[in-house]
Amino acid sequence: MDDRRIIELYFNRDEQAIKESKDKYGPYCFAVAKNILGSAEDAEECVSTALLKAWNSIPPNRPGSLKLYLAKLTRRASLDRADLNNALKRGGGELPLVLDELRETASDGRDPLSELEAKELASAVNAFLRTLPELDRNLFIRRCFFAEAVPDIAERYGISRGAADARLSRTRKKLRAYLEKEGLIDGSR
């Protein structure tokens, strides 16, 4: 079914919307959650949570892309479930690896961000991504948004794993420099 029609079902409060969403984007959302969590069971639950959140948020929201809207909800549900602060200890999925990779980029020993700072950070990350070459940007998004494994990303873009690793590393360094420049990271630490 066409996305527009599915969204209309949401607006008409027709529960068929959830079924149609699940049929169309369930596997996609499952992959997003599975990358982050590693566990198929947990991933299934996160997809269900995301669909429920979609039901509760459309309307008033009218997503431009239902697929990405569901992907973001799934990602958020997966991160909540992963318990980011303990993900490194718990292992499983790509998330601990991604967090570990970002340690040098983001750590500055300061307290967790306030809500306002978090918004500023999101805005800065968006702006930063737009400065990147397309390939570097896409690699970074696949790694840090979708938590995809590096070999899979390399295959997707037809480059070697080494090249993907090197580009990701370079992007992380650029991001660190960018965030320091924007005053979001304390560069002296």
Binding site: L79, V98, D100, L121, I141, C144, G162
Partner: protein, 279 residues
């Protein structure tokens, strides 16, 4: 801040950025396939030509070297009548074996062993190639692509044209090493390029969004891209290639941007001049 904050912030990135990363698997391969096919054809043609020349019996020294020589591709010029005097430029690797960094390229991916095309030995080169250029291309998809350089009719060193269907845009060539050939194995000389000479040949091959013209050492590159994309092309492509603001002017005109750079063409004289610093 800690990594978790960053991970959360990534969840707020714009949809168009995420959508842009959704390239179906295998599409990149399809884009590269025509180039790979072209390279295979070029190498096959070169090997066939070498076999043909070997059968004609161009002297005992040549025949004795033939089996090894097939590993070092020779690219003939289009006019066989001139082949005795023309330069045959050989391939080409990305970094010297064992090297991990080239100045100015520290952050570029280091190719794996399989990416190397073995440089011909002095014995193989004797009497065959006058100059070997080891270089890599900076192009629109990969950071490096092994490349054959051949001398064109005007005496310029240009990358082998890989076919009209090629989608790659070549931004430049980084010359890493130059070997001078000679009549005998002993006379083949390795010319060190101090600090990794960076020079540019900008050439667009069959890519609709790019057009580029070079004449008399001046190239004009038209990029049909939004202005915001120019930043990375400049910082990631042009600057590492040795282009700088003294050498290039950038003009934005609606959707089409013009980068006009002046730089020396890679000519035989230029390559010759490199040998002056050889130890």
């Amino acid at each position: 801040m800690d990594p978790a904050d960053l991970i959360k912030a990534m969840g707020e990135i714009d949809d168009d950025l995420i959508e842009g990363s959704e390239r179906p698997r295998g599409r990149a391969l399809l884009r590269i396939l025509p180039i790979a096919a072209a390279f295979v054809l070029v190498f096959a043609a070169a090997a066939a030509l070498m076999l043909f020349l070997g059968k004609k019996g161009e002297g005992p020294e040549h025949s004795a070297n033939a089996p090894e020589a097939t590993e070092a591709a020779e690219i003939p010029t289009s006019d066989p009548a001139q082949s005795d005097t023309d330069l045959y430029l050989n391939v080409v690797s990305t970094l010297p074996p064992g090297a991990t960094e080239v100045p100015g390229w520290e952050n570029e991916p280091v190719p794996s062993e399989k990416d190397y095309v073995r440089l011909a030995s002095a014995r193989e080169l004797a009497g065959k190639a006058d100059i070997i250029v080891r270089a890599r291309i900076v192009d629109s998809i990969c950071a490096y692509v092994p490349v054959d350089l051949v001398k064109d009719a005007k005496g310029r060193f240009m990358p082998v044209k890989t076919g009209e269907s090629t989608l790659h845009t070549i931004y430049g060539i980084q010359v890493l090493e130059v070997y001078k050939g000679g009549e005998t194995a002993e006379s083949v000389k390795r010319v060190m390029v101090p600090g990794g000479i960076v020079e540019g040949v900008v050439q667009s091959i069959g890519y609709p969004d790019y057009a580029q013209y070079c004449r008399g050492g001046e190239c004009v590159l038209f990029l049909n891209l939004p202005e915001e994309s120019q930043g990375w092309i400049w910082s990631d492509m042009a600057v590492p290639m040795g282009f700088n603001e003294d050498r290039c002017d950038i003009e934005y005109d609606g959707g089409v941007s013009v980068i006009k750079c002046r730089f020396p063409e890679i000519t035989f004289d230029w390559l010759e001049s490199l040998s002056e610093g050889a130890v």
